[in-house]
Symmetry: C2
Subunit: 466 residues, 2 copies
């Protein structure tokens, strides 16, 4: 019967990987006319996945093995993982789940249109439905104190608003305080040279070099492709793919998206072989995953040490940096400038964008805010925390897709990732006394190895404390 | 219940398309280390397909609708098609089918090794098994007169050795006769300029132009990628993909593989929308499919009219043709020179390669030849028909993969495709009086339209005679 269970979990992974590959192909290769048929293919596969994660068979397997104490650690964790997934779907009445999926798809389309037309009212009724559904789901799943906690738990198990209020509260005050000082300093930084024309081929070459130094095995098990929105995906740990998007008038965009996705991808490549097919072969949580990408992007990729090695190479490869001193370059790269769009935010202000979204989500799920009033609150908070105000909803509340398909509770992962990353760096520096020198010499392998041994081996598996 | 049937057939198509996409990705994108996991994914999906095409449920649906006279033409054909597939698999005992699949996979590996080492004895025991299995299968399926007929029927429904003996007999005599005359003529043709260095980018550009003129919609529903072996695949009629392989020292290779695959691909793009999801949306037969690719490759792509339009462009794009007159170029392109390798054969001698394989397959299935004696017969026939003799098995009997996985009966499709294509051209010339002039002006659209209206709409659907 154990073989049966293992077989069942493997099949689930095959379907998951297949869906991921079809999705990757949509973003990277698919001819435009193929959209309808592809969505039917994907619908079929998702349906099969749904059937298998809600089946009577799976229920029996879970019950049988939950009563069985004589299991190895990995199998126990597999059971916990799949039980969580079973409960998450099965507790929602099937008809409701189906209606939700349809509503989510309509909601996504409405969001796309609303964003294009910069008109929140197009999206509002759909967003209301998404919130209502998720409130109901939270009740089905059960929660303590706050229905929003049930949603947070999906992305970062056991995180709660009680914990986040403390952490984000402190973080917000500290950032806003520092930001005020920076604004008052009146130091201005030149960043125009980043925007000089820079051919895609040169960007590609440099990006590949950086990833190679980071230890991304793009030769035998990884790829770099192009898509409108950069992302990472994988089908097992031997086929990991990132995408990027080249802007020939701002070389920072592809470079930092490449480093960011590289952080995710290296995590996936380092997931131990023995976890393949167990449902555990994925990042420990969304926030831990983001900690890897944002760690490389900001803490490594914007550090003085990193650029001590890479700046001479960049000066050679690009025409952008003639006459730009290392100090000016370093300052330009780390410019702090409050802005409206999350994904373009600098390292300091980024978390404020997240905190605003977190506060709004919490209010929505605590019935402290109605959907129609989101834009007002959004703009108010942007002005208060960041000192900037959206001119319209498109550069305000409509900028992110997360809410359109009901992914409430996801945003905090990004800011938590920032915080986790800072703690990892702190510990890493204690463990590797010459870390700075190693990075200055381009030896990012020491970073990779530390992460591999201390972070990447910890995946979805629940670690029972000693 | 009709909805149930339609739904069932659609699901089968989704699985088919998913397998095809995963296979395409293996050839075009997949990192090498991912092979094992990908084959597991593909194994799972093939298993699901097997289950669905042999299920009790499908049997019931077929029986129900076979007894029902009140069906539209398309549904009737769908039922016939799926019944054929059901019988083909279901008539083989399940255990035997499983063993066969494993044996076929081992046989393919053995063939690869044998070809590399040019040692037929490595492959022979596997080939024996493949022949034995297929003899048994032919018995399960039933046949008239000749077990080989059951295999031919898979690729070209209702073709038989009785018919092929007549057609191929005549064809062989005619070709061998013409070949003797050509050899005796002592005309020698210069083709060295084709082998001058020609950068990939220029070949890509020219290939795209030719496909565009042919009417391949590569912008919205088609793609051209690179893989070691060129092929065509599709997932519905709105996502058709061809691949090619550039040889910078012989521009003919990619060009003619592109035109060849383009012929297949245009067929797939022109399959009517209303046949999607009915299991009928594929070429009428393997030979009809080959007729399209080989028609474009040889009858159009090597014609004087075609190059009247394209030669000036090619002279502009490539450095190969400086000082080469149109007549010399045209002669070079159509050089006849008996050779050992089928896929490199010229237009005239190509069918002889097929006829040799056909004669050997027929002997094998009629117990007139033992596997161990194939190399002897192979070499003898090459000498007799083509006047050339393989130095070793690698450039002889081991050159093609078809037999390694048991695809006996497939080869005749290529030669039949040549013959069908010639007949189409004959009729096309009667229907389009200024056909030559149109092609000379690069207006290949008239060819495309004729094929679309007269050939491409005829797919797997059985046409009941009026």
């Amino acid at each position: 019967m154990l073989d049966e269970l293992k077989d069942y979990l493997k099949k689930l992974e095959y379907i998951n990987s297949t869906i991921a590959l079809l999705d990757w192909d949509v973003m990277v290769n698919m001819p435009e006319k193929a959209e309808k048929y592809r969505s039917e293919m994907l619908g079929y596969l998702s349906g099969e996945y749904y059937k298998m994660t809600t089946s009577e068979k799976l229920k029996q397997l879970i019950e049988h093995f939950k009563a069985n104490d004589d299991l190895d650690e990995i199998t126990k964790s597999s059971i916990d993982k799949i039980e969580k997934e079973y409960n998450k779907t099965k507790k929602i009445p099937e008809e409701q789940y189906k209606h939700y999926k349809i509503a989510a798809s309509l909601s996504y389309s409405a969001w796309e249109e609303a964003k294009k037309k910069s008109d929140f009212s197009i999206f509002a009724p759909h967003l209301e439905k998404m919130v209502e559904y998720n409130k109901k789901f939270a009740k089905y799943w059960g929660f303590e104190q706050n229905s929003y906690n049930a949603l947070l738990d999906i992305y970062e198990p056991s995180i709660t608003t009680e914990k986040l209020d403390v952490v984000f509260g402190e973080l917000r005050l500290a950032i806003v305080d520092l930001l005020k000082k920076i604004n008052a300093s009146n130091v201005s930084v030149d960043t125009e040279y980043f925007k000089k024309y820079c051919p895609k081929e040169a960007q590609q070459k440099f990006g590949k070099l950086v990833l190679d130094k980071m230890g991304y095995d793009y030769k035998k098990s990884g790829r770099i492709d192009e898509s409108t929105h950069p992302f990472t995906t994988n089908f097992g740990n031997k086929d990991v793919r990132i995408t990027t998007n080249y802007d020939e008038n701002d070389l920072r965009k592809a470079l930092y998206s490449t480093i960011h996705e590289g952080g995710h991808a290296i995590y996936e490549q380092n997931i131990p072989d023995d976890l393949q097919g167990t449902m555990l072969a994925e990042g420990a949580s969304m926030a831990i995953h983001e900690s890897q990408s944002r760690f490389y992007e900001n803490l490594i990729g914007k550090s003085k040490e990193f650029w001590t090695y890479f700046y001479p190479i960049a000066q050679n490869e690009f025409n952008n940096f003639q006459g730009v001193s290392f100090d000016d370059f370093y300052r330009g790269l780390n410019e702090v400038k409050p802005s409206l769009i999350r994904i373009d935010a600098d390292e300091l202000t980024y978390s404020l964008h997240i905190i605003i979204r977190y506060e709004i989500e919490k209010m929505l799920f605590n019935d402290d805010l109605e959907v129609k009033d989101i834009p007002y609150i959004w703009n108010k908070k942007y002005e208060e925390y960041l000192g900037v105000k959206p001119k319209n909803d498109s550069e305000g509340v409509l900028q992110d897709m997360h809410w359109s398909d009901g992914s409430f509770g996801y945003f905090p992962s990004y800011a938590l990732g920032n915080l986790y990353g800072a703690q990892f760096l702190n510990k890493m520096k204690k463990d590797i006394l010459d870390l700075d020198e190693q990075i200055e010499e381009g030896n990012l392998k020491v970073v990779h190895e530390w992460l591999k041994n201390n972070i990447h081996k910890h995946v979805k598996r629940q670690i029972t404390p000693n």
